[in-house]
Symmetry: C2
Subunit: 271 residues, 2 copies
């Protein structure tokens, strides 16, 4: 079963690497950073050069510049890792840790009330990216990690984010091949469309064993000051014996709490 977290994002239109001859200096530097991913978090210089498609000399020069700046760090064995300076920058991302900072007290409340997995995610193209996860010791195992990507159609947070996306994005999501992770994954475009309409109507999404056979998630929208859905919060619980109706109010409440903290004010007819 492929781990989507290890794949490049499917709809970053300009993300395709240009032909090698025409690569700019900026592209080459970013290719060094792009050599790192979940499965390749520690890389030798040779591996960086190979994965970035660079000569060893160029890779050496660029990793040197990145390490001097703090974007990369080198361990005792000589392997390179992502450095603290990028963590400092990431903390400034409005859709990343800045949002997470506002949301955290509400996520903690949801965790204390349930002791289940609590997640916060945003949409990037046709993927969701998890920007926070609080896991209980006895909670069901989940395959998300902070910074991980999953396709929108297969997760509770993804269904919420997709249901409130522009029509063109929804069409794009339904038109592409829908990867199945279990027999329960929504891989039929017509069923996905019906589910999205239901998510909009209900104000929440239930994703039943779509990623793993033992987990069910309940997700609700997080709105920004203008009322648009900017993120989604979810609870992930053991599918066996799960009773979504008992979870939905808490998840929706957490979503509304974060929305208010972001400056959203419910209108008279708001769900």
């Amino acid at each position: 079963m492929p781990d989507p977290a290890g794949q490049p994002p499917p709809v970053r239109a300009s993300g395709a690497a240009p032909p090698r001859a025409s690569r700019s200096a900026a592209d080459r530097l970013l290719a060094v950073l792009g050599a790192f991913d979940h499965r390749n978090a520690a890389l030798s210089l040779t591996e960086i050069a190979r994965r970035a498609g660079l000569s060893l000399a160029t890779a050496h020069r660029l990793t040197g510049a990145l390490a001097a700046w703090g974007a990369l760090e080198r361990d005792a064995k000589g392997s390179y890792h992502i450095g603290l300076r990028l963590c400092e920058l990431a903390a400034l991302a409005p859709r990343g840790w800045a949002l997470r900072e506002v949301a955290l007290p509400y996520l903690e409340d949801l965790y204390e009330a349930t002791h289940e997995n609590v997640q916060l995610a945003v949409r990037d193209g046709l993927d969701v990216v998890y920007i926070e996860r609080i896991s209980g010791r006895s909670a069901v195992g989940v395959r998300s990690r902070v910074g991980a990507r999953w396709p929108v159609h297969a997760t509770g947070v993804g269904l919420v984010l997709l249901a409130h996306s522009p029509a063109a994005v929804q069409e794009q999501a339904c038109a592409r091949p829908l990867t199945g992770f279990t027999p329960h994954t929504l891989t039929d475009p017509a069923r996905l469309r019906r589910t999205l309409a239901e998510v909009r109507r209900a104000g929440c999404a239930v994703s039943d064993r779509q990623i793993t056979e033992d987990a069910l998630s309940v997700a609700a929208p997080v709105r920004g000051p203008r009322g648009d859905v900017v993120a989604s919060v979810s609870l992930v619980v053991h599918a066996a014996g799960a009773q979504p109706p008992t979870l939905i109010p808490a998840v929706r409440l957490a979503g509304r709490g974060i929305s208010r903290a972001l400056g959203w004010q419910p209108g008279p007819a708001s769900a």
Copy 2:
């Protein structure tokens, strides 16, 4: 009062910008990223060019490359922000979110046991960088943020990290001017040295109103598999009425829990 978070790190030897004429393409691209900080999390193209010391044309080309790659995002008003792609990379940093992921259950336990501010930090040169913070609603206000930097001498986590640093780092810390944030900040090198010895002896640090007049922190070491101190965990409480002896066991326990999760095994004589 200057906010150290907005200043460049004091001991990143190779971090000083080279004379403009000799700046490489890599340096220019990194200067665009370096234009962003806590006080400048949203920047126009003009501001990026000015802060990075680049022509408008060069800044335009480089922000374009960074935005196409996902390192920057542009909002509806045309301002640039740090993008999700850097959050994904930051999640791979072994001293950042990868460490935080291992530590989080223990930080949550410490939070549930105390409902005070819980922090996790690592050392970068003579600064500490906070990589996690869990704040209670009624806990004392703290000036740290995830991704923020503070000088090692002025914080509980910093005293722990400095006390277990190589002798050369400790000397460097004592030799530089010690910024005072309150009348209680350790600004006397001799007193700082005595405090560091005491921290090593006690296995924890108490930082009393060093950053703000109303906060006291108790910090303990987090050890890696080889026994070296790789991070520090702390509780920050209201200074008025604080009783450090009642807090120290919980903080030390959290530190030991995270250390074990990282693969540390206490030796027979380990504190």
